[in-house]
């Protein structure tokens, strides 16, 4: 798959006044020796927006996040965050940001509340202010009863909430979340989503990477799909589904040995068909209708399922099904 899917990204830029642009990247590139992690990407994020970066492992999402976070120097192109250059004004830019890295990197020698407090001190915030702020954040993260517990004794979900709370200590204008819910149970994910929504309502700009398509659909106003350092597609989740997938998907199974043979005879059905080792997918406006046609042709699937098309279908179509190690 090539750049055929790449959408015009200038559309939004025209509509938005420059003052409201939080992040502007033009031809943004990051090269490590002979490896190009990010390969000349363009995007913009405006104030109050919730912006998603999607892509398989190694797509360049985390590198892009680090460059925005002014902890990794770009090697080409332009990048401005709040009108400043991260290669030159690192500490100043970082003062505006809240960073939630992919892996929780708490200070394991410190208690929960101390982690929040000292992180605020790193920004030079006053002790009096922080005393109040820490309480507020402990409430926000629902960690009041764990305040005096050392971080290494917290559960995975608690640590994640603490990391997010920590990223808020300087009341950032942009909150950067790198896979915020990876490794969490469903309850913890939903609590986190709720917290992030509330931040969005407060006017915080969110930049999110995720592997979970349902999460991207829930949280992102707009997203880019990256693969191998390039942008494959850009747009709102619903628009992307409309553009790159059908309304519904029918999944049928004939048994591992018979799928390929059946697919050969059914390939004219639906808008598009995809044959996997364990099942066949039909992309269509109406899944039930395709199923009836299959029956009519004399095929009896072992199981069948009609579902709505999701961002996951878009993602797999754009980035392929091969495992990325």
């Amino acid at each position: 798959m090539g750049n055929a899917f790449k959408e015009e990204s200038t559309e939004l830029a025209k509509k938005t006044a420059p003052a409201d642009l939080m992040i502007v990247a033009k031809g943004l590139t990051k090269k490590y020796d002979d490896f190009t992690a990010v390969d000349g990407i363009d995007f913009q994020v405006k104030r109050g927006e919730s912006f998603g970066l999607l892509g398989p492992n190694g797509a360049g999402k985390s590198t892009t996040m680090k460059m925005i976070g002014a902890t990794s120097l770009r090697t080409g192109g332009e990048l401005t965050i709040l009108g400043k250059d991260p290669n030159k004004q690192g500490p100043e830019i970082r003062a505006h940001l809240g960073v939630v890295p992919q892996t929780d990197n708490h200070d394991n020698d410190l208690k929960a509340w101390e982690n929040l407090y000292i992180y605020g001190r790193y920004f030079g915030l006053g002790r009096k202010f922080l005393k109040k702020k820490v309480e507020e954040l402990l409430d926000f993260a629902q960690l009041q009863d764990k305040r005096d517990v050392k971080v290494d004794q917290l559960s995975g979900g608690m640590k994640r909430r603490l990391t997010i709370a920590r990223g808020l200590v300087n009341e950032p204008e942009i909150l950067m979340l790198d896979e915020p819910t990876t490794g969490l149970d469903p309850q913890a994910r939903h609590i986190l989503w709720d917290r992030l929504f509330r931040l969005k309502e407060e006017g915080v700009t969110l930049v999110i990477t995720t592997h979970y398509m349902d999460e991207a659909e829930q949280l992102c106003d707009r997203l880019i799909v990256m693969d191998k350092g390039k942008i494959m597609a850009e747009g709102a989740p619903a628009d992307l589904i409309k553009k790159y997938s059908s309304k519904e998907v029918l999944e049928v199974r004939f048994g591992s040995s018979k799928n390929a043979e059946a697919a050969e005879k059914l390939k004219h059905l639906g808008d598009r068909i995809e044959t996997l080792p364990d099942r066949i997918l039909f992309y269509a406006e109406d899944g039930e209708k395709v199923l009836k046609q299959i029956h009519k042709l004399g095929f009896e699937p072992a199981t069948s399922l009609v579902r709505r098309s999701s961002l996951e279908d878009v993602f797999l179509r754009l980035t392929g099904r091969t495992l990325v190690e």
């Binding site: 690192g90 500490p91 100043e92 970082r94 990197n105 000292i118 009341e171």
Partner: protein, 281 residues
């Protein structure tokens, strides 16, 4: 709750105050935040272990100074006077105490924070600069070295092992020694990548302790070996402390001081440089 709060002295305002000033890209003037973090961690850690680190030199003083001293009698100091064996090795062990305290924190602890705790990465994701981190961590290691040296002094002084009034300067001398070792320790550690390489630090420390004129004068060595040892930091530290406690102060004492000044500046420079290369690249 209010997350956007414009009325307070915000992180942005604080960061922008230094904007445009010299060194703004690597120094935010907030070393104290790093020291505060170290103190918080110290409070909740097993500080018994940290403080007990000064006992080893004390054991050496008691066992060697008095037990072996009975077999050895006296040793001739730099000025040609005979001093008791205990008084001869005591300043060496004082210098070693200052070195140990500084080195424990600035090597292994720094290594763990750097590669496992990811602490510096976290710090540098805020508006802190690399020099803030380097100064703070080295400063804390210095304090530990100073604490060990003071602990050792408390035992050494009442035993009558400081014959000269110059000995008052032995503690400031220990600060200099600890600063030097902390600085160079963190500088070197920041370039090391794995445990095997870290083990070389230990591998270097023990012979330096055993052979730097700690327990006997360098005169038993051939000239080439003596010159190598005289270039090592522990020998410089031991001579500095020995000059002060035995009162054999001279121009060479100042040379030892200069040696440590260079060590401090060099260590800070390389640490700061390396932190940017590792976490801000």
């Amino acid at each position: 709750m209010s997350l956007i709060n414009a009325s307070i002295d915000s992180a942005i305002a604080i960061a922008e105050r230094r904007s445009g000033k010299f060194g703004a890209e690597f120094y935010a003037g907030r070393t104290n935040a790093i020291l505060e973090r170290a103190f918080l961690a110290f409070k909740t850690s097993s500080w018994m272990i940290v403080l007990s680190g000064f006992v080893e030199p004390v054991f050496y003083l008691l066992s060697f100074g008095f037990g072996l001293g009975a077999l050895i009698g006296g040793v001739t100091d730099g000025a040609g006077n005979s001093v008791s064996y205990a008084a001869y090795i005591a300043p060496a062990l004082l210098a070693t105490s200052a070195m140990n305290g500084a080195i424990y924190d600035s090597t292994w602890n720094v290594f763990f924070k750097m590669h496992f705790g990811k602490l510096y990465q976290t710090m540098l994701a805020t508006s802190l600069g690399t020099l803030d981190v380097a100064l703070g961590e080295i400063g804390w290691a210095l304090l530990r070295g100073l604490a060990y040296a003071m602990g050792f002094m408390v035992i050494m002084a009442p035993l009558g092992l400081i014959p000269s009034w110059w000995g008052i300067l032995a503690i400031p001398g220990a600060v200099l020694v600890a600063f030097g070792f902390a600085s160079i320790g963190m500088g070197i550690t920041s370039y090391l990548k794995n445990f095997q390489q870290m083990n070389w630090v230990n591998f270097f420390m023990l012979p330096m302790f055993l052979f730097s004129g700690t327990f006997y004068p360098l005169s038993i060595y051939p000239d080439w070996l003596r010159m190598i040892i005289e270039a090592l930091p522990l020998w410089q530290a031991i001579q500095l402390e020995r000059d002060l406690t035995l009162g054999t102060v001279g121009w060479s004492t100042l040379a030892h001081v200069a040696y440590f000044a260079v060590m401090i500046v060099g260590g800070l420079y390389f640490t700061t440089k390396r932190l940017s290369a590792l976490f801000l690249r």
